[in-house]
């Protein structure tokens, strides 16, 4: 694989740059996606998707630059052109904007067509009696296989186009005269920044900031509570309503007064009767009329205000 710039097919070239560039961006994009999820947004729906795509632009440019430079030096033995990452990015974006909608159309049509053909097959008399699980697997293999082939071809098509874009950069690049070891060292050291403390400090600071934001946004209890789960109610004290409480207390006092008066009247009568019924030993016990009434007051909310003694 050493130095055959012209011999490398477009698909191979496209793959050699696109595959590492994609994976280089993934760890950073996953962090962004996680932060979006913590806030409750989904990275595959608007507006989260817009945010993610916007932030992907500088990430992709950087990743494409790094991957392409490595490929140029290591596999092609060429000096990478300046700003190769940016150039590849905008050209690839244009290309994808044209290619992807068409590919999506073709792909979805092909998949739908394959599915239709497969299910039609099972309407034949021969296969109608086949049990469900077997039928599912065979249908899936049929249309899945066809769909996989179609998707593979479409992917190769994109790689071919992207490979041609890279090839245009290759054509303008100067050969690198250094020995292999020096080239390896060159692309290896691409990954070492000139100002290390700066890069590390920025990374650490932004990391800590993102983590703190993550903590601030993430929900404390499950965002999908179970429909049957009852949270134990906070035992909040009943609300204080002073005016009502006072009114109630006044009413009670009035009631108590009348009850006491009734009792006194009754007691007087009893004394009179006692004189008459000495033998019977019947003593009318003072009615506990007071107690139940007073007992009831405890449970009414107003009495929580009773502190005013």
């Amino acid at each position: 694989m050493t130095g055959q710039a012209s011999n490398m097919s477009s698909v191979k070239l496209g793959l050699a740059v696109a595959w590492p560039a994609f994976w280089t961006g993934v760890p950073i994009k996953v962090v962004i996606a996680l932060l979006l999820l913590a806030t409750g947004l989904h990275p595959w729906e608007m507006p989260g998707l817009a945010f993610l795509l916007l932030l992907s632009i500088p990430i992709d440019i950087w990743a494409l630059g790094l991957s392409s430079r490595t490929v140029f030096l290591e596999r092609l033995h060429l000096q990478p052109p300046a700003l190769v990452g940016l150039t590849l990015w905008w050209q690839a974006t244009l290309f994808s904007a044209l290619y992807l909608p068409i590919a999506y159309l073709i792909g979805s049509q092909a998949v739908a067509g394959a599915q239709a053909v497969a299910s039609r097959m099972f309407e034949l008399e021969l296969l109608k009696t086949m049990p469900v699980p077997e039928r599912i697997s065979i249908e899936l293999t049929m249309w899945g296989g066809a769909a996989a082939v179609v998707l593979l071809v479409l992917a190769l098509g994109w790689l071919f186009g992207f490979g041609r874009i890279v090839g245009r950069q290759v054509a303008t690049a100067r050969p690198a005269a250094e020995p292999y070891q020096a080239l390896v060292r060159q692309w290896d050291l691409l990954r070492v920044p000139d100002d290390q403390p700066l890069v590390l400090t920025v990374l650490a600071a932004s990391g800590v900031t993102l983590v703190v934001l993550f903590w601030a946004f993430m929900p404390v209890s499950t965002p999908h509570p179970h429909e049957l789960y009852e949270k134990p109610q906070e035992k909040v004290g009943p609300p204080l309503k002073p005016a009502e409480a006072l009114q109630k207390t006044e009413k009670l006092i009035a009631q108590a007064e009348s009850a006491v008066q009734a009792l006194e009247a009754k007691a007087k009568k009893d004394v009179k009767n006692k004189g008459k019924n000495k033998g019977t030993g019947k003593e009318a016990a003072p009615s506990k009329a007071d107690q139940p009434k007073a007992g009831k007051t405890e449970t009414t909310p107003g009495n929580a205000a009773a502190p005013t003694r």
Binding site: R185, V192, M218, V220, P232, K235
Partner: protein, 313 residues
């Protein structure tokens, strides 16, 4: 300097061979013998004690003895020895420098750049820390969830004042409290408080001319025990270490007191510590008495063993 393997060996008169092996004392870790042999001569190797060595240079070992005495040294028996790789002797290699020269492996080309190495070292540490960091706060909150549970400020009915027949006499009121801990089903626990109807001097001792305020965990007042209400309820737990205490008549003292059987803390009717290790007086709890005499309290618990009252339940 230690003798080197393959060094020439010279007796006082002539060269007799080379150092074929070195023998080390396993305890002192010093070279105890050298083995001298002559290449292909069919002559047995001889084992020479280190004391016989006069001088050592990089490629020669000089012996004190003449070559004629060489045959008096014992013949070397290989089967009486094992190599240092077959036995574990601590730190042996640190004390041994008997190899002539060194055996080396080249540093890979890419590893020769120190800046690269330090950058990736630091970057690895940074990323590693950033993986662990997001977990710190959620995990701390997770394990701390039940540790500072908010207070239970329910009023509980415990009985009626008609049980209290005399002033300044402690009456125990036992009651059941329903508790629900986390996901456990509701359970009932037995609790008790001591209530007494205080005479004015005792009441003054308890309140010290100040109404007693009770607060919730935010600091807001939830209840005030007014100092003109004669009923005082003390938490059933002794402030020393939480044991249940009793009201006792002590003939020797000629009075009745609260006595804790665990460590013999003694309190008078106002809760004041008369004797024993209790760090503070008995803890009054919020109390209210209804017009019909029903007593209600809030079951407040304080940390045991501290001078300052700290509410925990």
């Amino acid at each position: 300097m230690q003798p080197k393997l393959k060094s020439k060996v010279r007796c006082t008169d002539r060269e007799v061979g080379e150092v074929t092996r070195i023998i080390v004392d396993p305890l002192s870790r010093e070279v105890s013998h050298i083995v001298v042999g002559r290449n292909g001569a069919g002559v047995p190797e001889r084992q020479i004690p280190a004391s016989t060595i006069e001088a050592v240079t990089d490629d020669t070992v000089e012996l004190r003895a003449p070559s004629s005495e060489l045959n008096q040294f014992p013949v070397f028996r290989r089967d009486e020895y094992v190599t240092i790789h077959e036995v574990e002797i601590a730190h042996l290699e640190d004390h041994l420098h008997v190899q002539p020269g060194e055996v080396l492996v080249p540093l890979p080309e890419l590893e020769r750049n120190v800046k690269r190495r330090t950058f990736f070292t630091n970057l690895t540490h940074a990323i590693g820390a950033l993986i662990a960091l997001p977990l710190v706060y959620p995990v701390l909150r997770y394990v701390m969830k039940p540790m500072y549970a908010p207070f239970d400020n329910r009023w509980l009915k415990i009985g009626n004042v008609n049980r209290i027949k005399a002033d300044d006499v402690g009456v125990q009121f036992k009651f059941k409290k329903t508790v629900k801990e986390a996901f456990m089903p509701e359970a009932e626990v037995d609790k008790n408080v001591w209530v007494l109807k205080a005479s004015p001097p005792v009441l003054e001792e308890v309140y010290k001319s100040k109404d007693m305020e009770f607060r919730d965990h935010t600091g807001g007042v939830i209840w005030t025990n007014k100092r003109d209400v004669p009923y005082v309820a003390y938490s059933g737990k002794c402030p020393h270490l939480g044991c249940g205490y009793k009201w006792r008549n002590v003939p020797k003292l000629g009075r009745q007191i609260f006595l804790c059987p665990c460590h013999l803390s003694i309190y008078d009717a106002s809760g004041k510590v008369l004797d024993g290790p209790a760090p503070r007086p008995l803890d009054p709890v919020p109390i209210r008495v209804a017009t019909n005499g029903d007593i209600e309290i809030i079951d407040v618990e304080y940390k045991a063993g501290t001078k300052v009252q700290t509410r925990i339940v």
